[in-house]
Protein backbone atom coordinates (compact mmCIF):
# COMPACT_ATOMS: atom_id res chain seq x y z
CA UNK A 1 0.00 0.00 0.00
CA UNK A 2 1.15 3.54 -0.52
CA UNK A 3 0.19 6.96 0.84
CA UNK A 4 2.86 8.34 -1.40
CA UNK A 5 4.66 6.97 -4.40
CA UNK A 6 7.70 4.84 -3.72
CA UNK A 7 9.85 3.19 -6.34
CA UNK A 8 10.13 -0.34 -5.00
CA UNK A 9 8.76 -1.63 -1.75
CA UNK A 10 10.68 -4.63 -0.55
CA UNK A 11 9.95 -6.94 2.31
CA UNK A 12 11.32 -10.23 3.54
CA UNK A 13 8.78 -12.31 1.68
CA UNK A 14 9.43 -10.55 -1.63
CA UNK A 15 13.16 -11.04 -1.27
CA UNK A 16 12.66 -14.73 -0.52
CA UNK A 17 10.25 -15.09 -3.44
CA UNK A 18 12.74 -13.45 -5.80
CA UNK A 19 15.65 -15.56 -4.57
CA UNK A 20 13.71 -18.78 -5.16
CA UNK A 21 12.64 -17.50 -8.59
CA UNK A 22 16.23 -16.63 -9.56
CA UNK A 23 17.46 -20.01 -8.36
CA UNK A 24 14.78 -21.90 -10.30
CA UNK A 25 15.64 -19.94 -13.46
CA UNK A 26 19.34 -20.68 -13.06
CA UNK A 27 18.67 -24.40 -12.51
CA UNK A 28 16.40 -24.56 -15.57
CA UNK A 29 18.88 -22.76 -17.82
CA UNK A 30 21.73 -25.00 -16.67
CA UNK A 31 19.73 -28.22 -17.16
CA UNK A 32 18.31 -27.16 -20.51
CA UNK A 33 21.70 -26.02 -21.83
CA UNK A 34 23.33 -29.26 -20.65
CA UNK A 35 20.72 -31.37 -22.45
CA UNK A 36 20.98 -29.29 -25.64
CA UNK A 37 24.76 -29.54 -25.71
CA UNK A 38 24.55 -33.29 -25.15
CA UNK A 39 21.92 -33.99 -27.83
CA UNK A 40 22.96 -31.25 -30.30
CA UNK A 41 26.73 -30.81 -29.88
CA UNK A 42 26.92 -28.62 -33.01
CA UNK A 43 24.49 -26.05 -31.59
CA UNK A 44 25.64 -22.42 -31.77
CA UNK A 45 25.51 -20.18 -28.68
CA UNK A 46 22.86 -17.95 -30.31
CA UNK A 47 20.57 -20.89 -31.02
CA UNK A 48 21.09 -22.22 -27.51
CA UNK A 49 20.08 -18.85 -26.02
CA UNK A 50 17.02 -18.64 -28.27
CA UNK A 51 15.84 -22.13 -27.34
CA UNK A 52 16.58 -21.82 -23.62
CA UNK A 53 14.91 -18.44 -23.15
CA UNK A 54 11.93 -19.33 -25.35
CA UNK A 55 11.10 -22.52 -23.51
CA UNK A 56 11.74 -20.93 -20.11
CA UNK A 57 9.50 -17.91 -20.77
CA UNK A 58 6.68 -20.12 -22.04
CA UNK A 59 6.98 -22.39 -19.00
CA UNK A 60 7.00 -19.38 -16.65
CA UNK A 61 3.88 -18.00 -18.30
CA UNK A 62 2.12 -21.28 -17.52
CA UNK A 63 3.07 -21.00 -13.85
CA UNK A 64 2.00 -17.34 -13.73
CA UNK A 65 -1.39 -18.12 -15.23
CA UNK A 66 -1.85 -21.08 -12.89
CA UNK A 67 -1.24 -19.10 -9.68
CA UNK A 68 -4.58 -17.24 -9.72
CA UNK A 69 -6.88 -20.26 -10.03
CA UNK A 70 -4.68 -22.35 -7.72
CA UNK A 71 -5.00 -19.70 -5.00
CA UNK A 72 -8.77 -19.72 -5.40
CA UNK A 73 -8.95 -23.53 -5.31
CA UNK A 74 -6.55 -23.89 -2.37
CA UNK A 75 -5.53 -20.99 -0.12
CA UNK A 76 -2.13 -22.60 0.50
CA UNK A 77 -1.09 -21.20 -2.89
CA UNK A 78 -1.86 -17.62 -1.82
CA UNK A 79 1.78 -16.77 -0.97
CA UNK A 80 2.60 -17.32 -4.66
CA UNK A 81 0.07 -14.64 -5.57
CA UNK A 82 1.56 -11.86 -3.46
CA UNK A 83 4.61 -11.27 -5.63
CA UNK A 84 3.35 -12.51 -8.97
CA UNK A 85 4.28 -9.14 -10.43
CA UNK A 86 8.01 -9.89 -10.13
CA UNK A 87 7.41 -13.31 -11.68
CA UNK A 88 5.68 -11.64 -14.64
CA UNK A 89 8.30 -8.97 -15.21
CA UNK A 90 11.08 -11.57 -15.03
CA UNK A 91 9.22 -13.71 -17.54
CA UNK A 92 8.93 -10.72 -19.89
CA UNK A 93 12.68 -10.02 -19.65
CA UNK A 94 13.48 -13.62 -20.54
CA UNK A 95 10.96 -13.57 -23.40
CA UNK A 96 12.51 -10.30 -24.60
CA UNK A 97 15.96 -11.94 -24.78
CA UNK A 98 14.37 -14.70 -26.89
CA UNK A 99 12.71 -12.16 -29.18
CA UNK A 100 15.76 -9.92 -29.58
CA UNK A 101 18.11 -12.83 -30.32
CA UNK A 102 15.64 -14.19 -32.87
CA UNK A 103 15.43 -10.86 -34.66
CA UNK A 104 19.22 -10.48 -34.65
CA UNK A 105 19.85 -14.03 -35.84
CA UNK A 106 17.11 -14.35 -38.45
CA UNK A 107 16.27 -10.82 -39.56
CA UNK A 108 19.16 -8.43 -39.02
CA UNK A 109 21.58 -9.57 -41.73
CA UNK A 110 19.47 -8.72 -44.75
CA UNK A 111 18.85 -5.43 -46.52
CA UNK A 112 15.39 -5.03 -44.95
CA UNK A 113 14.70 -3.39 -41.60
CA UNK A 114 14.83 -6.25 -39.04
CA UNK A 115 11.39 -5.47 -37.56
CA UNK A 116 9.83 -5.17 -41.00
CA UNK A 117 11.51 -8.43 -41.95
CA UNK A 118 9.59 -10.22 -39.17
CA UNK A 119 6.39 -9.41 -41.04
CA UNK A 120 7.44 -9.78 -44.69
CA UNK A 121 10.10 -12.50 -44.79
CA UNK A 122 7.34 -15.10 -44.77
CA UNK A 123 4.03 -13.93 -46.17
CA UNK A 124 2.15 -17.22 -46.21
CA UNK A 125 -0.53 -15.83 -43.92
CA UNK A 126 -3.17 -18.02 -45.56
CA UNK A 127 -1.41 -21.24 -44.66
CA UNK A 128 -1.72 -23.13 -41.37
CA UNK A 129 1.40 -25.25 -41.55
CA UNK A 130 3.59 -22.47 -42.94
CA UNK A 131 2.01 -19.53 -41.13
CA UNK A 132 4.54 -16.79 -40.18
CA UNK A 133 4.57 -17.81 -36.54
CA UNK A 134 7.16 -15.21 -35.54
CA UNK A 135 4.53 -12.51 -36.02
CA UNK A 136 2.41 -14.16 -33.30
CA UNK A 137 5.40 -14.14 -30.95
CA UNK A 138 6.04 -10.49 -31.76
CA UNK A 139 2.53 -9.40 -30.77
CA UNK A 140 2.61 -11.55 -27.64
CA UNK A 141 5.90 -9.93 -26.65
CA UNK A 142 4.39 -6.50 -27.27
CA UNK A 143 1.53 -7.29 -24.87
CA UNK A 144 3.96 -8.63 -22.26
CA UNK A 145 6.05 -5.47 -22.66
CA UNK A 146 3.04 -3.22 -22.00
CA UNK A 147 2.14 -5.31 -18.98
CA UNK A 148 5.68 -5.27 -17.62
CA UNK A 149 6.11 -1.50 -17.88
CA UNK A 150 2.70 -0.78 -16.34
CA UNK A 151 3.14 -3.26 -13.50
CA UNK A 152 5.19 -0.70 -11.59
CA UNK A 153 3.66 1.05 -8.57
CA UNK A 154 3.64 4.32 -10.49
CA UNK A 155 1.17 2.95 -13.04
CA UNK A 156 -0.81 1.04 -10.43
CA UNK A 157 -1.40 4.33 -8.69
CA UNK A 158 -2.05 6.51 -11.74
CA UNK A 159 -3.99 4.32 -14.16
CA UNK A 160 -7.68 3.83 -13.55
CA UNK A 161 -8.31 0.32 -12.14
CA UNK A 162 -10.52 -0.59 -15.11
CA UNK A 163 -7.89 0.50 -17.65
CA UNK A 164 -5.10 -1.23 -15.76
CA UNK A 165 -7.02 -4.46 -15.33
CA UNK A 166 -8.21 -4.52 -18.95
CA UNK A 167 -4.63 -4.05 -20.10
CA UNK A 168 -3.38 -6.84 -17.84
CA UNK A 169 -6.15 -9.23 -18.86
CA UNK A 170 -4.55 -9.13 -22.30
CA UNK A 171 -2.15 -11.71 -20.90
CA UNK A 172 -4.76 -14.28 -21.90
CA UNK A 173 -4.55 -13.10 -25.49
CA UNK A 174 -0.76 -13.24 -25.26
CA UNK A 175 -1.00 -16.82 -24.00
CA UNK A 176 -3.19 -17.84 -26.95
CA UNK A 177 -0.79 -16.16 -29.38
CA UNK A 178 2.12 -18.00 -27.82
CA UNK A 179 0.41 -21.40 -27.98
CA UNK A 180 0.06 -20.89 -31.73
CA UNK A 181 3.53 -19.35 -31.98
CA UNK A 182 4.88 -22.67 -30.67
CA UNK A 183 2.43 -24.95 -32.48
CA UNK A 184 2.94 -23.26 -35.86
CA UNK A 185 6.64 -22.71 -35.27
CA UNK A 186 8.89 -25.21 -33.58
CA UNK A 187 6.29 -27.99 -33.70
CA UNK A 188 5.88 -27.68 -37.48
CA UNK A 189 9.64 -27.72 -37.97
CA UNK A 190 10.60 -30.30 -35.39
CA UNK A 191 7.42 -32.41 -35.51
CA UNK A 192 8.43 -33.86 -32.20
CA UNK A 193 5.66 -35.59 -30.22
CA UNK A 194 7.41 -34.36 -27.08
CA UNK A 195 6.73 -30.70 -27.94
CA UNK A 196 3.16 -31.48 -28.97
CA UNK A 197 2.58 -33.38 -25.71
CA UNK A 198 4.10 -30.66 -23.53
CA UNK A 199 2.17 -27.81 -25.17
CA UNK A 200 -1.06 -29.84 -25.04
CA UNK A 201 -0.55 -30.79 -21.39
CA UNK A 202 0.19 -27.18 -20.41
CA UNK A 203 -2.83 -25.88 -22.28
CA UNK A 204 -5.21 -28.47 -20.83
CA UNK A 205 -3.85 -27.87 -17.31
CA UNK A 206 -4.52 -24.13 -17.53
CA UNK A 207 -7.95 -24.59 -19.09
CA UNK A 208 -8.83 -27.11 -16.38
CA UNK A 209 -7.57 -24.94 -13.52
CA UNK A 210 -9.29 -21.74 -14.67
CA UNK A 211 -12.60 -23.39 -15.41
CA UNK A 212 -12.50 -25.38 -12.16
CA UNK A 213 -11.76 -22.24 -10.12
CA UNK A 214 -14.54 -20.34 -11.89
CA UNK A 215 -16.99 -23.14 -11.12
CA UNK A 216 -16.00 -23.24 -7.44
CA UNK A 217 -16.25 -19.48 -7.00
CA UNK A 218 -19.63 -19.38 -8.69
CA UNK A 219 -20.84 -22.24 -6.52
CA UNK A 220 -19.52 -20.55 -3.39
CA UNK A 221 -21.25 -17.31 -4.27
CA UNK A 222 -24.69 -18.85 -4.67
CA UNK A 223 -27.63 -16.43 -4.32
CA UNK A 224 -28.34 -15.51 -0.73
CA UNK A 225 -31.26 -16.95 1.13
CA UNK A 226 -34.20 -14.81 2.20
CA UNK A 227 -33.41 -12.33 4.95
CA UNK A 228 -34.78 -12.25 8.43
CA UNK A 229 -37.13 -9.42 9.15
CA UNK A 230 -34.31 -7.27 10.55
CA UNK A 231 -32.49 -7.18 7.16
CA UNK A 232 -29.81 -9.73 8.05
CA UNK A 233 -28.99 -12.55 5.62
CA UNK A 234 -27.41 -15.86 6.62
CA UNK A 235 -23.91 -16.22 5.16
CA UNK A 236 -22.44 -19.48 6.46
CA UNK A 237 -21.64 -21.51 9.55
CA UNK A 238 -19.04 -19.91 11.78
CA UNK A 239 -16.85 -22.99 11.34
CA UNK A 240 -16.71 -22.47 7.58
CA UNK A 241 -14.52 -19.37 7.98
CA UNK A 242 -10.90 -20.19 8.87
CA UNK A 243 -9.19 -17.99 11.44
CA UNK A 244 -7.86 -14.73 9.91
CA UNK A 245 -9.62 -15.49 6.65
CA UNK A 246 -12.92 -14.51 5.07
CA UNK A 247 -16.05 -15.77 3.44
CA UNK A 248 -17.19 -13.77 0.42
CA UNK A 249 -20.91 -13.10 0.10
CA UNK A 250 -22.82 -11.50 -2.78
CA UNK A 251 -26.01 -10.15 -1.26
CA UNK A 252 -28.41 -7.63 -2.73
CA UNK A 253 -25.76 -6.40 -5.17
CA UNK A 254 -23.19 -5.97 -2.39
CA UNK A 255 -19.84 -7.80 -2.60
CA UNK A 256 -18.98 -8.41 1.04
CA UNK A 257 -15.99 -10.04 2.75
CA UNK A 258 -16.82 -11.43 6.20
CA UNK A 259 -13.64 -11.86 8.25
CA UNK A 260 -13.06 -14.01 11.33
CA UNK A 261 -10.26 -12.98 13.72
CA UNK A 262 -9.47 -12.97 17.44
CA UNK A 263 -12.89 -14.39 18.37
CA UNK A 264 -14.71 -11.74 16.33
CA UNK A 265 -16.49 -11.34 13.00
CA UNK A 266 -16.46 -8.15 10.91
CA UNK A 267 -17.67 -7.40 7.41
CA UNK A 268 -16.28 -4.94 4.89
CA UNK A 269 -16.52 -4.40 1.14
CA UNK A 270 -14.73 -7.17 -0.74
CA UNK A 271 -13.30 -4.67 -3.23
CA UNK A 272 -9.89 -3.17 -2.53
CA UNK A 273 -9.73 0.58 -3.15
CA UNK A 274 -6.42 0.18 -4.95
CA UNK A 275 -7.10 -2.03 -7.99
CA UNK A 276 -10.42 -3.71 -7.09
CA UNK A 277 -8.53 -6.70 -5.65
CA UNK A 278 -10.50 -9.45 -3.86
CA UNK A 279 -9.94 -8.63 -0.17
CA UNK A 280 -11.89 -11.72 0.87
CA UNK A 281 -9.26 -13.90 -0.80
CA UNK A 282 -6.58 -12.31 1.34
CA UNK A 283 -6.02 -12.73 5.04
CA UNK A 284 -5.51 -10.75 8.21
CA UNK A 285 -1.85 -9.91 8.72
CA UNK A 286 -0.76 -7.94 11.81
CA UNK A 287 -4.40 -7.18 12.61
CA UNK A 288 -5.12 -5.78 9.13
CA UNK A 289 -7.05 -7.23 6.22
CA UNK A 290 -4.37 -7.59 3.54
CA UNK A 291 -5.26 -7.58 -0.15
CA UNK A 292 -3.80 -10.60 -1.95
CA UNK A 293 -2.94 -8.56 -5.02
CA UNK A 294 -0.72 -5.75 -3.77
CA UNK A 295 -0.93 -6.00 0.03
CA UNK A 296 -3.02 -2.87 0.65
CA UNK A 297 -4.28 -3.07 4.24
CA UNK A 298 -7.44 -2.15 6.15
CA UNK A 299 -8.66 -2.50 9.72
CA UNK A 300 -11.51 -5.01 9.87
CA UNK A 301 -13.77 -3.16 12.33
CA UNK A 302 -13.87 0.19 10.47
CA UNK A 303 -12.54 -0.51 6.96
CA UNK A 304 -9.90 2.19 7.31
CA UNK A 305 -6.32 1.81 6.14
CA UNK A 306 -4.02 2.28 9.14
CA UNK A 307 -2.36 5.74 9.37
CA UNK A 308 -0.76 7.38 7.47
CA UNK A 309 -2.76 5.76 4.68
CA UNK A 310 -6.14 7.11 3.68
CA UNK A 311 -8.06 4.40 1.80
CA UNK A 312 -11.43 3.41 3.31
CA UNK A 313 -13.98 0.66 2.71
CA UNK A 314 -17.71 0.38 3.30
CA UNK A 315 -18.56 -1.60 6.44
CA UNK A 316 -21.54 -3.80 7.31
CA UNK A 317 -23.37 -5.00 10.39
CA UNK A 318 -22.82 -8.62 11.33
CA UNK A 319 -24.14 -10.98 13.98
CA UNK A 320 -23.56 -14.57 15.05
CA UNK A 321 -26.51 -16.64 16.21
CA UNK A 322 -26.44 -20.35 17.03
CA UNK A 323 -23.17 -20.78 15.17
CA UNK A 324 -24.52 -19.05 12.06
CA UNK A 325 -22.98 -15.85 10.64
CA UNK A 326 -25.43 -13.18 9.47
CA UNK A 327 -24.73 -9.95 7.62
CA UNK A 328 -26.85 -6.94 6.80
CA UNK A 329 -26.06 -5.86 3.19
CA UNK A 330 -26.92 -2.20 3.85
CA UNK A 331 -23.49 -0.52 3.57
CA UNK A 332 -22.27 2.12 5.98
CA UNK A 333 -20.27 5.03 4.56
CA UNK A 334 -16.60 4.25 3.94
CA UNK A 335 -14.58 4.02 7.11
CA UNK A 336 -17.57 3.82 9.49
CA UNK A 337 -16.72 1.85 12.62
CA UNK A 338 -19.14 -1.00 13.33
CA UNK A 339 -19.08 -3.27 16.36
CA UNK A 340 -17.65 -6.70 15.57
CA UNK A 341 -19.79 -9.73 16.39
CA UNK A 342 -18.16 -11.57 19.25
CA UNK A 343 -18.49 -15.33 19.53
Amino acid sequence: MSAQYATVQWNRQKRRYDRILALAIAVYLALFSGCQLYFYPEITPETLIIRATGTLAFLMLHFILAIGPLARIDTRFLPLLYNRRHFGVTMFLIAAVHGVFNIIQFHSLGNVDPLLSVFISNTRYGSVGEFPFQVLGFFALLILFLMAVTSHDFWLKNLHPKVWKSLHMMVYLAYGLLVFHVMLGVVQLDQSPIWIGLVGAGMLTLLGLHNRAAYLVKKEQAPAQKPETDGFYPVCDLSEIPENRAKIALIDGQNIAVFKYDGKISAVSNICRHQNGPLGEGKIVDGCITCPWHAYQYLPHNGQAPPPFTEKLETYDVKVQDGLVWVNPRPYPEGTERPAAVF
Binding site: E42, I43, T44, Q105, F106, L109, G110, S121, N122, V128, G129, E130, K165, M169, Y172, Y175, G176, V179, F180, M183, L184, V187, Q188, L189, Q191, I196, V199, G200, M203, L204, L207, H210, N211, A214, V217, K218, Q221, L250, N255, I271, N276, G277, P278, E281
Partner: protein, 140 residues
Protein backbone atom coordinates in the same frame (compact mmCIF):
# COMPACT_ATOMS: atom_id res chain seq x y z
CA UNK B 1 -12.11 -9.19 -7.70
CA UNK B 2 -15.40 -7.53 -8.52
CA UNK B 3 -18.10 -9.86 -9.87
CA UNK B 4 -18.05 -8.11 -13.25
CA UNK B 5 -14.32 -8.77 -13.58
CA UNK B 6 -14.70 -12.35 -12.40
CA UNK B 7 -17.37 -12.82 -15.06
CA UNK B 8 -15.02 -11.49 -17.75
CA UNK B 9 -12.32 -13.93 -16.63
CA UNK B 10 -14.84 -16.75 -16.78
CA UNK B 11 -16.01 -15.76 -20.26
CA UNK B 12 -12.46 -15.49 -21.61
CA UNK B 13 -11.52 -18.95 -20.37
CA UNK B 14 -14.74 -20.44 -21.74
CA UNK B 15 -13.87 -19.02 -25.17
CA UNK B 16 -10.28 -20.29 -24.85
CA UNK B 17 -11.60 -23.71 -23.82
CA UNK B 18 -13.06 -23.98 -27.32
CA UNK B 19 -10.58 -22.04 -29.44
CA UNK B 20 -7.27 -23.27 -28.01
CA UNK B 21 -7.93 -27.03 -28.40
CA UNK B 22 -9.44 -26.38 -31.84
CA UNK B 23 -6.36 -24.47 -32.99
CA UNK B 24 -4.12 -27.06 -31.36
CA UNK B 25 -5.76 -29.92 -33.30
CA UNK B 26 -5.62 -27.91 -36.55
CA UNK B 27 -1.92 -27.27 -35.99
CA UNK B 28 -1.27 -30.97 -35.48
CA UNK B 29 -3.29 -31.85 -38.59
CA UNK B 30 -1.25 -29.34 -40.58
CA UNK B 31 2.02 -31.02 -39.69
CA UNK B 32 3.95 -31.74 -42.89
CA UNK B 33 4.69 -35.32 -43.84
CA UNK B 34 8.01 -36.33 -42.44
CA UNK B 35 10.42 -35.67 -45.28
CA UNK B 36 13.55 -37.32 -44.01
CA UNK B 37 14.46 -40.90 -43.18
CA UNK B 38 13.95 -42.20 -39.68
CA UNK B 39 17.63 -42.89 -39.45
CA UNK B 40 20.25 -40.59 -40.86
CA UNK B 41 23.54 -42.00 -42.14
CA UNK B 42 26.08 -42.66 -39.41
CA UNK B 43 28.27 -39.65 -38.65
CA UNK B 44 31.63 -39.62 -40.34
CA UNK B 45 34.67 -39.68 -38.12
CA UNK B 46 37.89 -40.02 -40.11
CA UNK B 47 38.24 -38.34 -43.51
CA UNK B 48 39.05 -40.46 -46.57
CA UNK B 49 41.24 -39.22 -49.46
CA UNK B 50 39.78 -36.64 -51.84
CA UNK B 51 38.23 -38.06 -55.03
CA UNK B 52 37.43 -35.81 -57.94
CA UNK B 53 37.16 -32.02 -58.02
CA UNK B 54 36.30 -29.78 -55.09
CA UNK B 55 33.67 -27.28 -56.21
CA UNK B 56 33.38 -23.80 -54.73
CA UNK B 57 29.94 -22.25 -54.72
CA UNK B 58 29.12 -19.14 -52.74
CA UNK B 59 30.35 -19.43 -49.20
CA UNK B 60 31.05 -23.17 -49.33
CA UNK B 61 33.11 -25.80 -51.08
CA UNK B 62 31.91 -29.35 -51.66
CA UNK B 63 33.72 -32.48 -52.76
CA UNK B 64 33.70 -36.24 -52.47
CA UNK B 65 36.09 -38.44 -50.58
CA UNK B 66 36.54 -42.15 -51.19
CA UNK B 67 38.60 -45.08 -50.05
CA UNK B 68 39.74 -48.23 -51.80
CA UNK B 69 37.62 -51.22 -50.89
CA UNK B 70 34.68 -49.06 -49.70
CA UNK B 71 31.48 -48.97 -51.73
CA UNK B 72 30.34 -45.71 -50.17
CA UNK B 73 31.79 -42.20 -50.25
CA UNK B 74 32.03 -39.18 -48.02
CA UNK B 75 30.53 -35.83 -48.96
CA UNK B 76 32.58 -33.02 -47.50
CA UNK B 77 31.20 -29.50 -47.20
CA UNK B 78 33.43 -26.72 -45.92
CA UNK B 79 31.36 -23.76 -44.82
CA UNK B 80 33.24 -20.46 -44.68
CA UNK B 81 30.37 -18.22 -43.62
CA UNK B 82 27.08 -19.21 -41.95
CA UNK B 83 23.86 -19.00 -43.94
CA UNK B 84 21.41 -16.25 -43.02
CA UNK B 85 18.65 -18.76 -42.52
CA UNK B 86 16.99 -20.14 -39.39
CA UNK B 87 17.71 -23.72 -40.44
CA UNK B 88 19.71 -25.35 -43.22
CA UNK B 89 19.31 -28.90 -44.48
CA UNK B 90 21.46 -30.85 -46.90
CA UNK B 91 19.80 -32.90 -49.65
CA UNK B 92 21.62 -35.37 -51.91
CA UNK B 93 19.52 -36.07 -55.00
CA UNK B 94 16.44 -34.86 -53.07
CA UNK B 95 17.30 -37.21 -50.21
CA UNK B 96 17.76 -35.53 -46.82
CA UNK B 97 21.17 -36.49 -45.43
CA UNK B 98 21.68 -34.07 -42.55
CA UNK B 99 21.82 -30.49 -41.33
CA UNK B 100 24.41 -27.82 -41.89
CA UNK B 101 25.26 -25.70 -38.90
CA UNK B 102 28.27 -23.66 -37.91
CA UNK B 103 31.24 -22.59 -40.00
CA UNK B 104 33.75 -25.42 -40.57
CA UNK B 105 34.06 -28.87 -42.10
CA UNK B 106 30.98 -31.09 -42.32
CA UNK B 107 31.11 -34.67 -43.66
CA UNK B 108 28.21 -36.93 -44.56
CA UNK B 109 28.41 -40.65 -45.28
CA UNK B 110 26.90 -41.65 -48.64
CA UNK B 111 26.08 -45.34 -49.05
CA UNK B 112 25.99 -47.17 -52.37
CA UNK B 113 22.22 -46.57 -52.74
CA UNK B 114 22.76 -42.83 -52.61
CA UNK B 115 25.51 -43.11 -55.21
CA UNK B 116 23.51 -45.23 -57.69
CA UNK B 117 22.15 -42.28 -59.68
CA UNK B 118 23.99 -41.17 -62.86
CA UNK B 119 24.21 -37.54 -61.67
CA UNK B 120 24.48 -36.00 -58.23
CA UNK B 121 22.74 -32.82 -57.14
CA UNK B 122 23.57 -31.30 -53.80
CA UNK B 123 21.07 -28.84 -52.41
CA UNK B 124 21.27 -26.67 -49.29
CA UNK B 125 17.71 -25.77 -48.31
CA UNK B 126 16.13 -23.36 -45.83
CA UNK B 127 13.00 -25.37 -44.92
CA UNK B 128 11.48 -22.53 -42.89
CA UNK B 129 11.21 -20.18 -45.82
CA UNK B 130 11.19 -22.91 -48.48
CA UNK B 131 14.27 -21.52 -50.25
CA UNK B 132 17.14 -23.38 -51.97
CA UNK B 133 20.17 -21.54 -50.65
CA UNK B 134 22.77 -23.28 -52.78
CA UNK B 135 22.81 -25.98 -55.46
CA UNK B 136 25.84 -27.83 -56.78
CA UNK B 137 26.17 -30.53 -59.43
CA UNK B 138 28.82 -33.12 -58.55
CA UNK B 139 30.46 -35.68 -60.78
CA UNK B 140 29.97 -39.38 -59.97
Amino acid sequence: MVPELRKRHRQIWRVWAVLLPLGFVLSVLALPRKEYPDQLPAPVTAAWPIEGPVIKSGELTAGLRGKAGESGKQLEIVLQKPFKAPMTRVYWNEQFIGSLGAVGVHRYALDSALLAAPAFTLKIVDPVNGVVLNQIELQP
